[in-house]
Amino acid sequence: MARAKKSGLALDGILKCPTGIQGLDEVTFGGLPRGRPTLVCGGAGCGKTLLGMEFLVRGATQYDEPGVCVSFEETAEELAHNVESLGFAVHALILQKKLAVDYVQIDRSLVEETGEYDLEALFVRLGQAVDSIGAKRVVLDSIESLFASLANEAILRSELQRLFRWLKDRKLTAVVTGERGEGTLTRHGLEEYISDCVILLDHRVTETVFTRRLRVVKYRGSTHGTNEYPFLIDQDGISVLPVTSVDLKHAVSDERISTGIPALDCMLGGKGYFRGSSILISGTAGTGKTSVAAHFADAACARGERCIMFSFEESADQVIRNMRSIGINLGRWINKGLLQFHAARPTTFGLEMHLVKMHKIIRNFDPRIVVVDPVTGLIDSGTQAETQSMLLRLIDFLKEKQITALMTTLTGGASAQEQTEVSISSLVDTWLLLRDIESSGERNRGLYILKSRGAAHSNQIREFLLTDRGVQLRNAYLGETGLLTGSARVVQEAKDASQALLAEQEIGTKQCALDRKRKAIEAQMEVLRLELEAEVEESRRLIAQEQTKLKKWAQDQGKMAKSRAVNEGARAGKAKSARASEDRR
């Protein structure tokens, strides 16, 4: 907004006077035109006077610009009293000379008109009040009363023209209120005189719910938000709710935070949600949306982060009791001051009231995590379009503050699962879908991640179990007939187990047989080896025998030769016969 304000100044060259009213300065990109009158018009009870008074009070307290209120309808006392209930210390400001209230009482029954006159006395009074406190701001509430009191409209009109000229000449930033007329902005056409800035206040009742709206009809020489902005009046005055981040430029975080369910963290790339992202959990009734939300809140509190749960269906005690049954103790976080519960029926207030209350609670508590359970509950308090724009504003607000938002939404049984009732799916970053899976006479729960921006995530459907130790996710069984859950899955798993057992036994048997065979073969091998050894032994023995024989024969031959050497004469013949016998051998 600061950028917008600056550019507004550069573009327009007109100075702006911040009202200090929450949201209005954003809608007008900086405030009302400084030194010019602004017309605030609307029907009875739409908050014109309050807007004027808040403009003065905020000017006096926040911007050191004293202000004068000229009231034609209420006495100074009444006026002070009315807005004091809204937290404005008017009396104190009057004593400090930061605020002056002048009640101009015109009782037609006591006034006779005769001849020419002017409203110089009004100028005198206003001028005196302005000079007495050095006022920079003026509120005329509501100057149209003059039309009811004075018969001579021609004089009145020329005097009004002079009055607005006078205000401009004195560089007073003025708020002039006017009653809305039939088909015209004001009943007496004040818009003819005040053309610099016109703000229209409106209030409507839609299906018994009251909503206030504000629109900047025109703002000469300046850009401005052109939409109708809801606003409300509570103990802190007026809050206008613009769509906070017009240009979608909030900072993002890479930090991941646990969902509180380890298996779900795994499905989200093992890390969980992004910090500051918005998460939607949609599902039909009884699919465990609140439980998933409670896990997240529990995990956040366990990390020491503050968390707010807005509950539109159950009371705080009921949620705590129910969550205790699945092993989540939220009560201890409340006692530690880390968790706040805000339960309200959606129909208690209008949407804007809800939104502003939520804004206020969030501002005061400054949580890291916000859970809204369920956002669909809010549809009851507005139309779909309104709810959507409200949620858009809420999500933007939370993103700007880097608060992780988890919202649940109830999808009707008849409507498409992947369509949220308020079409907020495009606004969220992570969308978990919880669904019923009906099969074999059972209703079981399934969970899958429909989208998760900027993060790897599992594409599987997991079976979702609520146990006394919290939410557990099981791999859903994909059998021949499709997804099996619940007892069908259990049966299938048992079947699988027995098959596995059989196979194991088979393997065992085969193993044994193999062992036996190996042993048999090994035994055979042993026998053969022994045989071989025996044969080798035998062979060696025979070889040794032969060698011994051969040696013996050689020795015998030697002996024979010796004996032949003795009988040399017979040697030749003997040798010849010996050689012959040798050849024979």
């Binding site: 101009v104 001849g115 006159y117 110089e120 006395a121």
Partner: protein, 108 residues
Amino acid sequence: MKTSASRAVRERKNSKEPIWELRLYVAGQTAKSLLAFANLKRICEEHLGGSYQIEVVDLMKNPELAKGDQIFALPTLVRKLPEPVRKIIGDLSNTERVLVGLDLRPRA
């Protein structure tokens, strides 16, 4: 026209007749204020039998006095006495209406 804040005009005081206490608010000596004062004087002379007093208040000099009598238009004649307080705005050029405003004529 004398514009002092408390210039009383008391003529032919008669205790039997009611005392008229009139206050004329003006801002400076404009044509309208002068005309109003002249008209007032004439009407008083003609219809109040002299038992009256006129106080002229110039808001240019005493702006703070405008609040007290709830003056918003000028000139304004305020009948302080007899009660109830009556106001007549304008230059008092329509004598009949002035008389009605002073309760000297029944209202139409």
